[in-house]
């Protein structure tokens, strides 16, 4: 796979092995959030973390990047334990990670271009013209090239997520962490963001951890999934096997999601019947929108998704 960006990183790691290893993680705030969670994330794979609101999905992401410290358990990044690292060690590890925040977290005093440039200045030795080229390439990948001089406040919710994604990929991370990438978006924009995650994963070959409570998004983007409930992982494995787990909570979750999915399909049918693009879709220059379903291989249709969900 050819990476679209080729520039020298200030910090890089080249060892083989699982990229991230999480062992028996536990954390409590006012009450226990994660009790015993373990997970491996391998190079190039996409793992979805599912669960209802407040189940500790976002907490898990913040633990991986060292924004929170666990009460028990360990996290390794390329065999280096990050749970006991100091600030400087964490900075080095974080320079290999991209993070898409729920609200995109763009710096609102800077243009979109400056938001991306700040990351490149910090993490690369590139000169200004080369940085401009990289910024332009990253924005083109998320179909936001015209937004380079715009302020974050001028963008819609979906465009902010795309800009946040461009900022996450511009430094060539080995791992991208997505915190609820489709939350707060209409179904069509959510679907286009999910599609974009798949496209980026295929083009860049990065490992991804996608935290979501949206099952269609999880099926679209991921190879494996982990379902959290009451602080434990009630399922961990290939996403297609989710419905066979037999866990009561999981079946309930799937049933609720299927109802959502039916509503989503109905909306898509109405939309296609009108035979013109929705305003948000127009604004974001979405390409080939596809219904949510298991992550397609090249040339594979999304029909399997319906089999899994129904």
């Amino acid at each position: 796979m050819i990476h679209p960006f080729h520039h020298q990183k200030k910090n890089g790691t080249n060892e083989e092995g699982p990229l991230v290893r999480i062992e028996h993680l536990a954390i409590a705030f006012e009450k226990p959030v994660l009790r015993d969670v373990s997970l491996d994330i391998h190079k190039g794979e996409t793992v979805a973390v599912l669960g209802k609101s407040g189940s500790g999905k976002s907490v898990l992401l913040k633990l991986i990047v060292g924004l929170l410290v666990p009460d028990a358990g360990k996290i390794f990044y390329r065999d280096k334990e990050i749970t006991s690292m100091d600030e400087f060690g964490l900075m080095e590890v974080r320079s290999n990670m991209g993070f898409l925040f729920q609200g995109a977290a763009l710096f609102d005093s800077m243009t979109i271009g400056q938001n991306l440039d700040l990351f490149l200045v910090k993490h690369t030795d590139l000169e200004a013209p080369e940085r401009e080229k990289k910024i332009s390439e990253a924005l083109e990948m998320v179909q936001l090239k015209d937004a380079i001089d715009k302020m974050p406040s001028d963008l819609s919710g979906g465009m902010k997520k795309r800009a946040g994604l461009a900022r996450a990929i511009v430094i060539e991370p080995e791992l991208i962490l997505y915190d609820e990438p489709t939350t707060g978006l209409d179904p069509l924009t959510a679907s286009s963001i999910a599609e974009l995650i798949v496209t980026l994963q295929q083009r860049l070959g990065v490992a991804s951890l996608v935290v979501t409570h949206d099952l269609p998004t999880a099926f679209t983007v991921s190879d494996r999934a982990m379902m959290l409930n009451d602080g434990y992982a009630v399922f961990e494995g290939e996403i297609e096997k989710l419905q066979h787990s037999g866990d009561e909570f999981l079946l309930e979750y799937l049933a609720a999601s299927r109802l959502d999915r039916e509503r989503h399909d109905k909306l898509v049918q109405i939309h296609e019947g009108e035979q013109h693009p929705a305003p948000e879709q127009n604004q974001e220059q979405n390409g080939n929108r596809q219904p949510a379903g298991p992550k397609p291989e090249h040339g594979q249709s999304h029909e399997t998704d319906k089999k899994v969900l129904t």
Binding site: L67, G103, A105, L106, L118
Partner: protein, 270 residues
């Protein structure tokens, strides 16, 4: 229940008062650690000079008109209030010196600092609080951008540079305000007013006053940043951070002033 566990009846009766005291101690401890981190960052160049200049403009230059108005009013009001008493004691000729010393030693440094604690401290608290609420500070952390160095260090440095400069301006314009009143009341010439001030004011009158504003600037910056940086509770927390930043820094400035006055009097006794 095990013997070493606490039950509700073991808690002090006045729990809210205990909570207030403990939260006060937590605030002081947090501020201390936050300040130590500033010193650590100071010892670790390179610095974000561009951002410091940008903050100097936002904190210093944009406060200039407010400082000029306050400075003129300090000089004019002080002259009007003291004039009858000075005349009573036959010391009318000392009014310019009295105003200059009062303004330089105490009034300008403290009043300007307290006013800027409201304007600048609350502004910093709200700005950083909103960045925390929208996860922008987390985004910097994750991207290894060192948010403390980029956001906190630059703002505190800007406050420490801006406060003394603004105080010098306030000192000068307070004399203009005083002369204006003197001109109306007694027709005093500007040259005579300036000569009287130069003859009556000593090194120990203006230097300590200006020097302490470096520390007041530090207090405004560090408290504002601390409240904003550690803001919790989303948008509601942003408002709380702004208010707490203004109140805490004003209080600390007034308390610190007592210490500075004592030190000044020890170093330069009358």
């Amino acid at each position: 229940m095990a013997n070493d566990e606490l039950s509700e009846k073991d808690l002090p009766e006045d729990v809210p008062a205990v909570k207030r005291w403990t939260s006060g101690l937590v605030l002081l401890g947090g501020l201390w650690l936050f300040s130590m981190r500033f010193l650590k960052t100071l010892a670790r160049p390179p610095y974000e000079f561009k951002e410091i200049v940008r903050q100097l403009n936002a904190i210093g230059f944009r406060s200039l008109s407010l400082v000029i108005v306050v400075g003129i009013v300090i000089g004019a009001v002080l002259t009007m209030q003291s004039r009858p008493t000075m005349i009573k004691f036959g010391a009318e000729a000392y009014i310019p010196v009295m105003v200059a010393i009062s303004s330089m030693r105490e009034l300008s440094p403290v009043l300007i600092s307290v006013i800027l604690a409201g304007r600048v401290g609350a502004g910093i608290g709200a700005e950083l609080g909103s960045m925390r609420a929208t996860e922008q500070i987390d985004a910097m952390d994750v991207a290894a951008l060192d948010p403390y160095k980029l956001l906190v260090f630059t703002r505190v440095m800007a406050c420490m540079i801006a406060l003394p400069l603004l105080t010098i301006i306030a000192d000068l314009v307070s004399l203009v305000g005083s002369w204006f009143v003197e001109r109306i009341e007694s027709g005093m010439a500007l040259s005579h007013f300036i000569q009287t001030v130069i003859n009556g004011v000593e090194f120990s009158d203006y230097l300590p006053g200006i020097a302490k504003t470096v520390f007041f600037g530090f207090v405004i910056g560090i408290v504002g940043c601390y409240e904003g940086y550690n803001s919790t509770g989303g948008t509601e927390g942003v408002g709380r951070s702004a208010t707490d930043a203004a109140v805490t820094s004003s209080l600390l400035i007034i308390l610190l002033d007592v210490v500075f006055v004592k030190v000044t009097l020890m170093l330069w006794p009358y």
